[in-house]
Amino acid sequence: MNAIDPAIHVAAANIRLDGVTKSYGKMPIIPNLDVEFRAGEFTVVLGPSGCGKSTLMQMIAGLERVSGGRIVIDGREVQELEPKERGCAMVFQNYALYPHMTVFDNIAYSLKIAGMTKAERRVRVELVAKMLGLTEYLGRKPSQLSGGQRQRVAIGRAIVREPSVLLFDEPLSNLDAQLRHDTRVELAELHRRIGATTVFVTHDQVEAMTLADRILILNKGEIEQYDTPKAIYHNPASVFVARFIGSPPMNILPVSGDGTVLRLSDGQAVAECRLKGSFQLGIRPEDIAVYTTANASALRADVRYHEDLGSHSILAADLSGTMVRITTPFGSQAPDSNVLLLSCPQQRLHLFDAVTGKAIAGAFTAATKEKK
């Protein structure tokens, strides 16, 4: 990418959704959504398939009508406006380039509709093309481009209008791993340069963790958590979020508390805790420590299998009837015996309600404090 060019730099807009609802026929897709995307931030929307991510994007863009509520962009209510009046641009998963137009015409189409003169269009398109490394392809048709190049054209088509809001709906999912990585880095760079408020839908957590200023996790059209990647990783608000972020996902074990310790279903004590009742205990695979020497206070688990991924390996073990996964650093040998001795550091544990799955804040800190 080239030196920063002030010509493509926009005033980012704040987006606020106020009690937005959406249903198709009688089926509610989004029951009630209040959320704010701050000006200039890069928000990644994560969620299982069918949870309404695309629907949310299209309502912001104006491609779908809201069933209720308000969408406010830059202080202006837009839910009744046409897409072109909202100042949003969108990049689609399958690029949706116009097959019969050249790259130049694809990028310039919105400018042409907006009534820009040919000379102005040329300047703008060439600027964008230079930015995205597309200059030599301007005369080609989309069918003569590689997947990655098409993706750039789609991005170029979106940014050429200098939108104050950029919407991406799974833009990288058709690319191979290497290209995904490269494009991700470029997108981050692009966002830094353009500064448009960006909403980005993906299934890929690596994309989410690396690109996002904030991550919005949706489940069945409702917000599970909306926070920075760090906060989401370290303090998941629910079992759903805990399982969704992290690879392999967080281990969740049923435990019961008697007021002093939490016990697994087979009676082994995992941690000290003052709470009584049954809970779900979460621990990330990378937070579990494996003892190599005998240790009386360790948890005992039966090894089931061992996967060596080169950089690290993953052990799967049966801990009191639940399969847990443990990430061990590179070099650690596959255990000789079938029995594994584990410890779960107290400060890395997460406690969730057994029924609602919501996180219980401060469950362990309180216990440790009292001990002091």
């Binding site: 299209q58 863009a61 104006g62 491609l63 046409e82 897409p83 072109k84 949003c88 641009a89 969108m90 689609f92 998963q93 399958n94 949706a96 380039l97 116009y98 097959p99 019969h100 189409y109 919105s110 509709i113 907006a114 088509r157 979106a158």
Partner: protein, 304 residues
Amino acid sequence: MVENARSINIVASLILIMGVIFIFGPLYLTLATASHSYEFMLQNGLTWSFGGNLIANFKRIFTETSIPMQMVNSLIVAVGNAVAGCVLSFLSAYAIVYFRVRWASIVFALILATVILPLDMRFVTTYQVASNIFSPLNAVLDATGLNDAVAGLFGAPFHAEWSILNTHLGLVVPLLAHGMGTFLFRQFFLTLPKDLFKAARMDGAGPIRFLVDILLPLSRTTFASLFVLTFLSGWTQYLWPLVASSTAEMQTAVVGLARLVPDEGAVPDYPLIMAGAILVSIIPLTMIALLQRYLVQGLVLSEK
């Protein structure tokens, strides 16, 4: 499947050769007959040999019959059928595929029903309507009793008449009520990426701009296929033009050709008729030769 490829090849070739003979035999006979004089034919009957009267027979077509003028009629009917059919099908498929039209599937089913209810089946009704295209309206007004009210108000019931029989319009319009084109375009639109429409909307294109700037250029081949198919079908129509046109000036070439056969028992002037048949076939034949690619595409698409 592949074993015995040789003998299968031989059998296949034999079948093909038989097919070719079956098709070219009559064509050859047509050409041969057209090259003789009426007198020669009266003496010798139909022969496989060639005579020297081909050009003379063509000249007679131009001087003695209305075929040349009727070919103009045919051209109007065929082109009218093709152009109007393409435009209507394109627009209706656009509405069905790209808009959440209420009852869209029912509308589409009704359009498709015309494929299994061809003109030949609705002949009498079509004729009644063509003889006065206001007759359905009149009938509805009468049946609902609205006309009694009108009569009370204006002193006379509403009654309008407009016959399109024996006009070019009347020749073309009934042929248009055919859903194949809509089906063809619908199938094509469904193969396009769904997000194309959304992308165009994001770029600021309204429905009309999308239609003109995106859909139209992409549909060129489908247009060509449908044009060829409907042109040929319009050109070769027989029954409807026969009924709907009452004067030689309004008849199409195919009807005119049939009219060259005298009504009384006299031996028809076969050389003249065959020369006419050759002339009348030239336009569709050229069309097929030039646009064969699209014709095949259209047939394949409409099979799906």
